[in-house]
């Protein structure tokens, strides 16, 4: 049950202790071997379920668009409006429309992942190793999302200003160059670890509490988890928008 908790995966028979330490893994995983490459299978399964759910929902809701939104279309339009507002406040009036799809994808994926992890009874399905949970509680997912954000804001800045984009590294003064360069690394790092940490911590707490007191006591914390999950999705999308907006804003 408490296999979530950080363990040293020293099942491998490597003699070098450095390798032992480098094998630090969060929880147990269902490994899929593709060549020499190991994948976290349970993350992929839940990601596909989440993606499939979002895609099917979208197709259901938007396949028959009407001037007066009814039912699911009304809901999807509300979500779209919300994301557009978010993009507008973060990126600015002129360029936000181009980034609505990206921010929307990130927000919806993270949000649905988080809530799926918090609300769906994944543990009904038993895996040979590891267990199903929110896709965002795996560092690989959050890092890939964060790196996508990094690439996006670089792309946005360079497309807007050309090579002049790199002037921002020596602004406002030249000696801030190391800090500005560091920022480019800290942004995806903080993004990914914030999301990953929040979701994983939530699931760990719930897991521990469920192991200690199985009934009713974990409910408040689970509700808190639902709340923080939603907030984390919002934070991720907002920060991605803010980074993009920052890279395309004009320095005077």
């Amino acid at each position: 049950m408490i296999e979530h908790i950080f363990i040293f995966n020293n099942s491998t028979s490597l003699s070098n202790p450095v390798f032992d330490i480098s094998e630090v893994a969060v929880g147990q995983h269902l490994y899929w071997q593709i060549g020499d490459y190991q994948l976290h299978g349970q993350v992929l399964i839940t990601s596909w379920i989440v993606l499939g759910g979002v895609i099917i929902f979208t197709l259901l809701a938007n396949s028959d668009l009407k001037p007066l939104p009814v039912g699911l279309q009304n809901f999807t339009e509300l979500v779209t409006e919300f994301i557009r507002d978010l993009a507008k406040t973060q990126i600015g009036e002129e360029e936000y429309l181009k980034w609505v799809p990206f921010l929307g994808t990130i927000f919806i994926f993270v949000f649905v992942s988080n809530w799926a992890g918090a609300l769906l009874p994944w543990r009904l399905i038993e895996l040979p190793n590891g267990e199903l949970a929110a896709p965002t509680n795996d560092i690989n997912t959050t890092v890939s999302l964060a790196l996508l954000t990094s690439v996006s804001y670089f792309y946005a800045g360079i497309r807007k200003k050309g090579l002049g984009y790199f002037k921002r590294y020596i602004q406002p003064v030249v000696f801030l160059l190391p800090l500005n360069v560091l920022e480019d690394f800290s942004k995806p790092l903080s993004l990914s670890f914030r999301l990953f940490g929040n979701i994983l911590a939530d699931e760990l707490i719930v897991g521990v509490l469920v192991a200690l007191v199985p009934l009713f006591v974990p409910i408040p914390l689970m509700l808190l988890g639902v709340f923080t999950s939603a907030i984390q999705a919002l934070v991720f999308a907002t920060l991605a928008g803010a980074y993009i907006g920052e890279s395309i804003e004009d320095h005077h």
């Binding site: 007066l68 009874p121 009904l124 009713f216 509700l223």
Partner: protein, 177 residues
């Protein structure tokens, strides 16, 4: 753990299975949480969605109303345009009519003037003719008189004077009242 026999008979794959331990799957808590979330979030969301739908409905209705109003105004404007065109046509017709009348008037006037001028010309001609005739008469009379005078003057010699005088004297002498 895999006590559910169906999943033992039909395994989902190697090592995959179905966990039917209620406490371990945490399903009661999850149900409660889902219920709470659905109750609160769902209620708020349905209100939000309904409001949104109502707003959109109102907007659509307003837009329809505005469209119909605009159509009405368009039709009115069209009617006015037709009216104006008709009026313009009338005015044009009237104008041409008036112009023709004016032309005719002018023509008549010119004709009258021409006639009067002709008359005046004739009168003037007559007048000058008369004047010329008068002058000619005067000159003829004066020449005739001059010639008569000359004729008178020519034979008036001294001898003739004496003869006449003598004759007259003779007559006077013979006169006896």
């Amino acid at each position: 753990m895999n006590l559910l026999t169906i999943f033992n008979i039909l395994p989902l794959g190697e090592g995959f299975g179905f966990n039917d331990n209620i406490l371990e799957t945490n399903i009661i808590n999850l149900a409660a949480v889902v219920g709470i979330v659905v109750f609160f979030v769902g209620k708020n969301f349905s209100i939000l969605l309904e409001n949104r739908q109502q707003t959109i409905l109102n907007n659509l209705r307003e837009a329809n109303q505005r469209a119909s109003e605009a159509l009405e105004r368009y039709n009115q404007a069209k009617k006015q345009l037709e009216l104006a065109e008709k009026k313009a046509k009338d005015i044009r017709q009237e104008g041409t009519l008036k112009a023709r009348q004016e032309k005719e008037n002018c023509f008549n006037q010119y004709k009258l003037d021409l006639v009067r001028l002709e008359e005046y010309k004739q009168e003037t001609l007559q007048f000058y003719q008369q004047k010329a005739f008068q002058q000619i008469y005067v000159s003829i009379v004066s020449r005739a008189l001059g010639e008569v005078k000359q004729k008178f003057n020519k034979p008036l010699s001294e001898q003739f004077h004496a003869t006449i005088n003598n004759f007259v004297i003779a007559r006077l002498t013979e006169y006896n009242p």
